[in-house]
Symmetry: D2
Subunit: 398 residues, 4 copies
């Protein structure tokens, strides 16, 4: 067993930390209005240029894409640093949903798709989205209810359906959409398609107000109306969409954890600063035993989270699917970082609720994280079912 | 012992419920922008007219002020109903901070102050604010750090200082401000002043962004710079400000509880509707055991909260100060309603995070409620200290 | 609404408090070995004599049974006082399972059954038990699995089956047993029988070790083997056993709450004494903020519990079934008192774990209380199902 | 980073698992009475012989002591396996307090002390105890209150004082006692002495009843009355006792975690077996969503605990003091395993409370673990103080 990080990785971590502190955090006070996608994209481009300059851009992809070529453990370390600022992960081009889409396209896309979609995405020239979740009675946490369909018409496919809570859809250059293609085969009959945003059959129909700031392009409703694409729009093999979804979701839920852990750390930095500065009842807040407990619980939550992430990341690096471990990490980390945000707000008092500090925003976003990419309840169910299958002999363990 | 509500109160409760459902909730979808104070005040006026019409306006004050003359138990019942909508408590003119200010002025104001300040406030013609909390190193949760001062200059007083998180300050017609007036007497040397918003020495200096919608007029920073007032601006007796603050705060923290309980109930209505409508894994969400637990826990939290509120309200009706019981209720109810909001969001999934439902807003606001009017930590400390004094003999109990 | 207790009840409360302090608690240090039923019954008799003397014996039954004739609210107040000592509820003859059995027999028994069973039970001359729970695959939390059967043979009934966790069975003079009598009618085909302990067909087969001390007679396994009884052994009407079980269980789960609340209060008395006496890090434990939070949370839990109990008791006094409110109280209070016990142990440190203080025992017993009389999980399910039926229109509310 | 365990360690883990299942667990149903120290020691000897036979004895010490020479990570893996049974850690001779005492004596003892004390202890021929905690007003969680003193009289030292909660004292062959030796030097003036149990000045004065079964020899009160020892009784250097205590306590609190984690795993094995076997409401318990959540939470708690332990163990293997990480692990793991025990009881219902399953015992013991070796509250305080010192610049981090 060895928890050592390589000297190169330690250096990159340090470089990223400095980049975030010096080049990114100063921009937080002038964040564009959440609806002003163009301003956001402008800021993003500026920060990405700085990240390239600083040698911290695109940690997760290889040199052929302009990246740093880190493995999952490396990503864990660097994404955490970048996650200290909601702008940081934009700067490094490792934010959701693009990061997960890059990973997926690299893994299962054709070389033409690499050129057309991955390259500009990796370069930060465009953004993308991933359209799976549907309004009732379609696929929510239960993917078997998938209602969006793609029908083959000769060499073309025609997609029809509605999706909602599609993060980053507004302003995205393209969309990966999951649609039913083989109703006979049940769960295994879905296919992923790459759809350009300027396809006349694709439309962002609505952007519901959601008070988080980390997803440029919001969480939108989109529609596919007789949306026609060719064979070359199929991502991976036809009818294998559900399996590919797992390919995307397993690491994606873990990279979420990595970024949020950084955000949680940032929250504790503010809480600690406040606890050291604010006096009450004849001492610093930091000297009150109860406040110390809050700070200690943050540390315990973050340290546990980090180890859960590192372990699952290491498994992915070994080629394991790590379904179980990434699910455990997702539940534990999402709830831990939400608790951390909650405690840090409490330490900061009314100031913690104001947008002067990033805490209130973090509280909202980490709350959402307990739902996005599978609510805790569903992950708990699948974790337990796996344990049950192992115990009653229907599955052989670990 | 008797938990019976009078037929009149039951009828008023029913009337209020119908008023909220039919006249108030339909307006929720067109809420003005949070910064647009004028639009808010317009909507408020319209809703208040409707409430007068419906016979539910101003439940907490007597007929001489145009109110319904309820006691605290009556308020508990009606405020809960009104609290089902953030607009409802505006409609009935029983929202914070006005409701607490009315109570205070009625109790300790002169008859001239009644005419000048209470009458228009009760009528809904103006709004007000209460300025106690100060930025560091001033008075936060520890009131002994009060830094704002009022110096006597002949027959005039000159107030200087800064306050922050002053709810409703933007657009308020007047402000009750707490200032140090007698440094010799320590804690007992503060005085409350009524300051008109158009006093040249008073200014709303900043409105920090806080994502809650229930306080028209935001949570502002205000400043007093050589703010001159006369003797008649003193509310109550000079140097008794801290005692008066308790007169205001004890029932005020309880009426907060009443309103939030209504909001929590509203949240469960949405969660239940979603749980009945949404299918997943071959049944309604409502049929999943885990979801049932979440719903049951909401019920337990709300039922306990209601009893804590009713009991403390009854004590106030008996003339008790109920410092202990209102503090217990404040801690318990604020945390309970925050848990309720959290669970309801989880039941509703991603929809719970969107502003299409009032849940996300409620989640933010109930979070703040664990801080406003004294954070849970400070109330826990004072509750325990009272128990300790009783136990070690320094104070005789109950 | 009125939370006033009558002067008579206040006087009885005070009398009970003094009786527990002076006559009962001194006996706690010489508690008999848990298995020595005879010694326990001896101590019980002695304490009951003292209780009669002090005018606090049998609060829950009428004067015709030698009792004080309190209503449920009265019981709530007095049982809490008695519950401060595990011996106290024995002294007053208001402990489980006898108290619930008295209530049931009084309500549905014939006058002959009153004479033969209720009178000696009320007098404390004998003890009883209630046999419902069965080992797998019989009736556990799901009563529909009832496996014990009673077959009619002419004018006699023959009972066969096994029960486990039958509290107080060892040394009980008689047993109320629930048996299936009409398999056609499904759930409604169970009957309650009164079976004398000396019936040759009845046997206490095993007393598993369970480390709680509050149930004289343990939690036993009992068997009915061709256990023959006459028609006069039927308690209430045949085939109505499940309905009667609710008659017993609804108030019984509430009286549990009353007694445990007293026990929780006692725990906080020890915790407070320790917090006042023990020094660490330059002050009394009681002066540490964190310890104060623990004490405050105990107070909040107990105060909420008391109100939940009082409200449900009042409903029972009004003739309501209060299924919902007693279930809510049972879940909330059982978990609250377990938390209180947990915190008090923590305040007392290692001493809290030793049998020198009653805390460790209370911790074990309150843990069990989250399971006995229906585990929290099942109550949560039934609470939610009632809410769901109200919401989807299958049932009209409250 | 690498989470791989060596093939040798994996083989030893497997061997230990089988040893526990086949040779140890069958003995659990005939555990001696808790007070019968001789019977316990007999059983222990028998199990240790079997462990030697199986090649799993004394994992933590080197071959020169008859052990397997594992490092801390190795111990983590094997102690967890052994911890699945309270008898297992006795069998392997890696139970507290002996395991910590062996480590301490090996580290700081003279070669004569190695021969006289460590050798028989390592061989399992004798047991030992560690006497630090004192009754009020002595040293509890605050070691600076140390009251037991040792005075030098020529070449002899005379120890006087009382200790309590001394685990394993009854039947121990010797005791390591901490006594004040230099009042001038304050905190740094304590010394550790090795005292033979047959020293006439040493006495086990009382064995308070504590319902846990894992510590042979109970948690006793002991006294030192003019207890005379020579210079050679000093363990390590004089006046360095507090530093040595840390040498012992840091790994000792981690080995506690390792063993308890195994116990928690065992609890989940019982809960899973029950959930698979028991039917209620038309399905296995394991098929209820709520029960699945309980099982999933156990998995999450145990997986996090294991990683916290492994990480801190690895740090110790690198020669780090790991004060911070062992404290974090102690708090987190002790609370996690207590939660696991609690949930497993709930899954098993009333059966979970009976001594037929090891759950009730585990629940009591894991509860105690939140207090022993420093209560969570004190660890939280020290964790936070370290963070505070890092943040305000009084200490340089990690």
């Amino acid at each position: 067993m060895d928890f050592t990080l390589s000297p190169e990785l330690l250096a990159l971590r340090e470089r990223t930390r400095r980049f975030i502190d010096e080049m990114v955090i100063p921009h937080e006070r002038q964040m564009p209005d959440i609806e002003d996608v163009a301003a956001w994209d402008g800021l993003r481009a500026k920060l990405q240029a700085a990240a390239r300059e600083a040698g911290v851009f695109l940690p997760q992809l290889g040199a052929e894409w302009g990246g740093l070529g880190l493995n999952w453990v490396g990503n864990a370390v660097v994404f955490e640093e970048a996650g200290r600022s909601a702008l940081g992960i934009q700067a490094l081009n490792c934010a959701a949903p693009d990061e997960g889409n890059m990973h997926l396209i690299e893994k299962i896309g054709t070389s033409a798709q690499h050129d057309q979609y991955l390259r500009p995405l990796a370069a930060g020239a465009v953004r993308s989205c991933f359209a799976m979740t549907e309004p009732p009675p379609g696929a929510g946490t239960d993917p078997s209810l998938l209602a969006t369909s793609a029908e083959r018409h000769g060499k073309r496919w025609v997609i029809n359906g509605k999706k909602h809570f599609i993060s980053g859809a507004s302003g995205a250059a393209f969309c990966i959409v999951m649609a039913k293609t083989d109703t006979v085969r049940g769960r295994h009959g879905a296919t992923m398609f790459l759809v350009d945003a300027d396809n006349p059959g694709f439309r962002v129909t609505r952007r519901p107000q959601i008070y988080d700031r980390s997803f440029i392009g919001g969480h939108c409703e989109v529609s596919f109306e007789d949306c026609e694409v060719g064979e070359d729009a199929i991502l991976g093999a036809a009818n294998e969409g559900f399996d590919y979804a797992q390919v995307r979701l397993r690491p994606a839920r873990l990279t979420h954890c990595m970024r949020w852990l950084g955000a949680a750390r940032r929250a504790t930095e503010h809480a600690m600063a406040h606890a050291l500065a604010r006096q009450s009842f004849n001492s610093r807040l930091a000297d009150h035993q109860g406040v110390q407990w809050l700070l200690a619980d943050c540390e315990i939550d973050m340290h546990s989270s980090r180890l859960l992430i590192w372990h699952a990341a290491w498994l992915l690096d070994q080629g394991a699917t790590a379904s179980h471990e990434t699910a455990v990490a997702k539940v534990a980390v999402s709830e831990a970082v939400n608790r951390v945000a909650d405690r840090c707000i409490q330490v900061c008092g009314a100031q913690g609720m104001s947008e002067d500090l990033p805490l209130a925003n973090l509280y909202r976003e980490t709350r959402a994280f307990r739902i996005y990419d599978g609510p805790s309840e569903v992950h708990r169910m699948t974790i337990a079912k796996r344990l049950i299958r192992r115990a009653d002999g229907t599955e052989r363990g670990h």
